[in-house]
Point group: C2
Chain length 164, copies 2
């Protein structure tokens, strides 16, 4: 139909605003579809992932890492605790804080989710060859490593210095 169509993409600048948003929307939809067991859909998947894989010391750390308000984190975790997926444990070192740990059920659910999400991702990236998918993941990971919104780089140092 249109003779000038290729330029209807967002031009050569700002791939993000166009491609990435659509990609992430589609990804989120697929994750939501696979997240019957979890509250909050994609958010829930990210939360449980952070709980299991990223050893964040407290609720507040969890919240700032995920970019969620702490008051929101409260009832988010209420839902997860109600489902028996995570537990709030008292932190012996700081009795104000709660250590969030995944229950066995939580770990099982996450493992199942991860398998489904991985499959959905492969399907989502069907337009890319396997090598390109790996490349994309690596580039994303490397790009994301530089993003520290309100993170203190000293924390990493502190963690590195604390043995075990």
């Amino acid at each position: 139909m249109s003779t000038t169509p290729t330029t209807t993409r967002a031009g050569q600048h700002s791939l993000f605003g166009w491609s990435l948003a659509a990609l992430l929307r589609e990804w989120s939809a697929r994750v939501d579809a696979a997240a019957d067991d979890l509250p909050q859909g994609t958010r829930g998947y990210q939360l449980l992932t952070a709980v299991v894989h990223g050893d964040l010391p407290s609720q507040a750390a969890l919240a700032s890492t995920l970019g969620i308000d702490r008051t929101v984190m409260t009832y988010l975790l209420d839902a997860f605790e109600g489902c028996g997926l995570v537990e709030r444990q008292l932190d012996p070192a700081d009795r104000r804080a709660r250590r969030i740990v995944a229950t066995d059920k939580g770990q099982e659910v996450l493992a199942a989710m991860e398998a489904r999400v991985a499959a959905a991702e492969e399907e989502l990236l069907a337009g890319l060859e396997p090598g390109q998918r790996a490349m994309l993941r690596e580039l994303l990971e490397r790009a994301a490593m530089g993003t520290g919104p309100d993170e203190d780089p000293c924390r990493t140092v502190a963690e590195a210095t604390t043995p075990g």
Copy 2:
């Protein structure tokens, strides 16, 4: 840097849920910061981009492309029209529909925004070398081309067949 913490990432599967979300959050924050002239921040930038660069015939097409409800699109465009950035024109071919076109001011504002967003992107991807950034953009674009919730795949074929 750190010897152990890299494994606190989401493991080898599902880079998306972890890296990409943080990356997009940071990107969105930077776009918001650069979007003083636009309503709705990042959303507004995406909307204006779609209006100018993607020639969508109607409000509904705009809405489905951006994944926005049509009722939301109404007051979103109200705000944009109020700012003199876009206009609702009657579609002579279908008097129910409105053609959304950017005003001169809208095009100027978008152009300025795109420059700022491009700069922010470069800054955001500072961890990657220029070649890697280009590679990332190309991979994202190609991956996003496959995502057609209600898109016609024939368009992709048409684009591929047209020699750049």
